[in-house]
Amino acid sequence: MKKIEAIIKPFKLEEVKDALAEIGIEGMTVSEVKGFGRQKGHTEIYRGSEYTVDFLPKIKLEVVVADGQSEQAVSTIVGAAKTGKIGDGKVFVLPVEEAVRIRTEDKGEKAV
């Protein structure tokens, strides 16, 4: 099993979710995060004084899939989340040791 972590632009969440649903991935965990990569922050102004905002809001999407589906999931996410502009984000793939469905106590790929 593989865990796919994707940092994406917040407004892309719906698109990515729908695209994953189309290839049969219907479960995921989503969190609101802040971060930056090579996209620098931007300048804002408050009562006449400028300041830079380094951390930009992003969405972190986590989904665990069977080994066989991992590549397809990654390319689906990349395709749906891409805008071509700086700050699109990154996708990481990590190995998963074990997975358990709490309700039924299914283990392994059955739980994913």
Binding site: I45, Y46, G48, S49
Partner: protein, 468 residues
């Protein structure tokens, strides 16, 4: 009686001859009953009017003026809600409970101290013109309920009406300071400071003018209609002294640069300012001290137009000076206009009011920027809005008000209020600071006063992601 007869008439005309006698008896009974009711009420009413003696003819105007006064007292009270929300909106969420607590404390201690000694210190009657500490209020209705017994036509209300209206003003002086010292002031120290500033400082200074003291006794008397100096400059300069002793918030000025500390809720700040504008209907409108329609109409108009002009002027000025349509500057512009017109709302023309408000709106923007550049940290712009524009509003009466007023008298008055407030505040702040009761320590400030001083959150359901 006539009404009863009219009601009976249709019934009478519609009856047959047989029931005529019965009908007549009914009518007689109804008339007698109706006559009896009218008699009771009329007697009570006549007694009430007669109690006002020779001036009973003016009862309607008197009652109307009193109602207007009480409504205005309620509107000025509402300003405390405005201050609370404005200050909360322009400061960080981790200090919100503290801001709200201070505002709740201020209105409460303000009213009580005004009853204990403030009112009679503010209006000491015959005194040396500078200083006379009074005692607690008693039965202010004891003057008699005659219409003009308390204050004549010019102060057309009962003693209690006067008391409660003025009492609402008193606390606003301390609340001006609470915004400037936000996010790092020691709670206990502030409570002591506010009690003395409002309990003693405000009424003593106020007695110089509204109490008939030395400012009213000058060749050309000082004029401050509703308190540009007595309330706003007083509060603004007290705030200046307070923040000079207090120092800026941690992280505000780093390496010679200004690091903005964002307010956590612009909706709250906006609600606050618009509530304050609403409160000013009472603050200025009630300072007419009667329901005299010409004066009330003029004052409310000059007040609102000055506020509007202030907003527009600030919007324009910040567009030029900082190249942004800054909401918080527009809000400060409204307040600047209101503070600016407060000294002369009843003696300037409509277009003079617009000019006064506009100038206030123009000067408040560079004032705010200046204090920041000078490393004087004022999270809500209290010193600029109330101090600087309070002085402007006072001087404006000397410029626009006509020959009844002089620029010199206005200058003397505003300096008297400003310097007195500054020195009193400075002394209190220095004493409290040396007792370790003026500022919280660094850790408490980082943690937030809500936790450090009150042990609670303003928004327990919202977990903040990062240190602010």
């Amino acid at each position: 009686m006539l009404l009863a007869l009219l009601c009976m008439a249709p019934a009478m005309s519609g009856l047959a001859q047989d029931g005529a006698a019965e009908a007549v008896a009914e009518v007689v009974e109804a008339v007698a009953e109706a006559a009896g009711e009218v008699d009771e009420n009329k007697v009570a009413y006549d007694e009430m009017i007669a109690a006002h003696g020779a001036t009973a003819y003016a009862f309607d105007f008197f009652a109307l003026s009193m109602v207007w006064t009480i409504i205005c007292a309620a509107l000025v009270f509402l300003m405390h809600l405005g201050f609370a929300t404005l200050e909360a909106g322009l400061t960080r969420a981790k200090n919100t409970v503290n801001i709200l607590f201070k505002n709740v404390f201020i209105i409460s201690i303000g009213l009580i101290t005004y009853a204990i000694l403030g009112f009679n210190t503010h209006y000491p009657g015959d005194f040396n013109g500078f200083f006379s500490i009074g005692g607690p209020i008693g039965d202010l209705n004891a003057d008699g309920s005659g219409t003009f017994a308390y204050g004549g036509v010019a102060l057309c209300m009962t003693g209690f009406g006067d008391f409660i209206f003025q009492a609402m003003f008193a606390a606003t002086a301390a609340t001006i300071v609470s915004g400037a010292v936000a996010e790092r002031i020691n709670l206990k120290g502030f409570m002591i400071y506010a009690t003395i500033l409002v309990g003693i400082g405000y009424p003593v200074a106020g007695s110089w003018h509204w109490g008939g003291g030395f400012l009213s006794a000058m060749g050309t008397p000082f004029k401050d209609f509703a308190g540009s100096s007595a309330v706003h400059a007083f509060g603004g300069f007290a705030a200046l002294a307070a923040v000079l002793v207090l120092g800026p918030r941690r992280g505000k000025y780093i390496d010679g640069k200004i690091k903005p500390i964002l307010g956590h809720s612009m909706p709250l700040a906006t609600i606050g300012v618009l509530l304050l504008w609403l409160g000013w209907f009472g603050f200025n409108g009630g300072s007419v001290l009667s329901a005299e329609p010409m004066a009330v109409g003029l004052v409310i108009t000059t007040t609102c137009l000055a506020a509007a002009a202030g907003a527009l002027a600030s919007i324009l000025t910040s567009a030029v000076m900082i190249k942004t349509p800054d909401l918080s500057m527009a809000l400060n512009g409204i307040l600047a206009g209101l503070v600016g017109i407060t000294a002369g709302a009843d003696v300037v023309t409509v277009w003079e009011a617009v000019i006064i408000g506009a100038i206030a709106g123009v000067i408040v923007v560079p004032a705010i920027l200046f204090f920041d550049k000078a490393k004087i940290d004022d999270p809500v712009g209290a010193v600029s809005v109330h101090g600087v524009c309070g002085v402007w509003g006072t001087l404006a009466v000397g410029i626009f008000g006509g020959s009844d007023f002089s620029f010199m008298s206005q200058l003397i008055g505003t300096l008297a209020f400003g310097i007195f407030a500054f020195i009193l505040s400075l002394i209190l702040a220095i004493i409290l600071k040396s007792a370790g009761m003026w500022r919280v320590d660094a850790e408490e400030e980082e943690e937030g006063l809500d936790i450090a001083e009150h042990g609670s959150h303003a928004y327990p359901d919202f977990v903040s992601v990062a240190e602010k």
